[in-house]
């Protein structure tokens, strides 16, 4: 990595197809990348990372990362620790759903209003983690 690289945080999200929380993790991460912290963040593609993607793993090794997992299987967190190093932050959607009092989430594919609201909450949680990481980094 060269000196010219600005300080950025890598977000590694699961996209778990088996549960709606995976979809929420994915959407929340995209919201952070596109709207909440577009200048400060970079997405790390988890399948590519796990398959051996050099750029993804190198970034995660030299720059701080935040993992976003849909459920307590923690695939993004475990994968990051295994191949690059301990993430600087970790978010689990099922934990946030419980603490937000979300009732049983339904739609796996197209998020309804409750799921979208949770995605927004998760995105804000990720953004706060990004700010904290960058604050420590300065």
């Amino acid at each position: 990595m060269t000196d010219s690289q600005e300080k950025k945080v890598g977000i590694i999200s699961c996209s778990g197809e088996g549960c709606v929380e995976g979809t929420i993790a994915r959407v929340a991460t995209r919201l952070v990348l596109e709207k909440l912290r577009p200048e400060e963040t970079v997405t790390i593609c988890l399948p590519l990372f796990l398959a051996g993607g050099g750029e993804e793993r190198a970034f995660a090794k030299y720059y701080p990362t935040i993992t976003v997992d849909g459920c307590d299987k923690l695939c993004a967190k475990v994968g990051t620790e295994r191949y690059s190093g301990k993430p600087a932050g970790s978010i689990v959607v099922t934990d946030l759903a419980k603490s937000s009092g979300c009732s049983k989430l339904r739609s796996l594919r197209k998020l309804e209003s409750e799921e979208l609201a949770l995605a927004q909450k998760v995105a804000e949680g990720i953004a706060r983690e990004v700010d904290e990481v960058l604050e420590h980094w300065r």
Binding site: S4, G10, P38, V42
Partner: protein, 152 residues
Amino acid sequence: MSEYLRTVFDKFELRVRKGLYYTKDGLWVSVENGKVRVGVSDYLQKISGDVAFIEVAKPGSTIEKGKEFGTLESVKTTVALLSPMSGKVDEMNGELTGKPELVNSDPYGEGWLMVIIPCNLEEDRASLLGAEDYYKLMLEKLQSEHEKLESR
């Protein structure tokens, strides 16, 4: 010593191969025993996205410096490819019909586009950029991209 000049943008490493000439649009040129091989720079393939189709003038065609000799169609955009030199197309890379992704995965190697027999080699080469100058141009373009994002 590395055969590339390198920089990092976001998580992507961008390489400019030394010893080649470049157009401002991002094509590279290699002079090989009086013929000229043409390809796409790492920067150009990266900003274009995953290449789905490549069309290049057929062998025997006459091409003119600065004029379109083909198109690169990615899932994001279609890029008109402007010839770095005048001459006749000697060879086109037939592998790219079935595997256009070679342009992305190996832009300086197996992803080459065509070989030209130039009719004005020295004069046309003089108007191209060396690797160092193209590298500086690439950094300027990246900086300008970065500023555009910041101002959004």
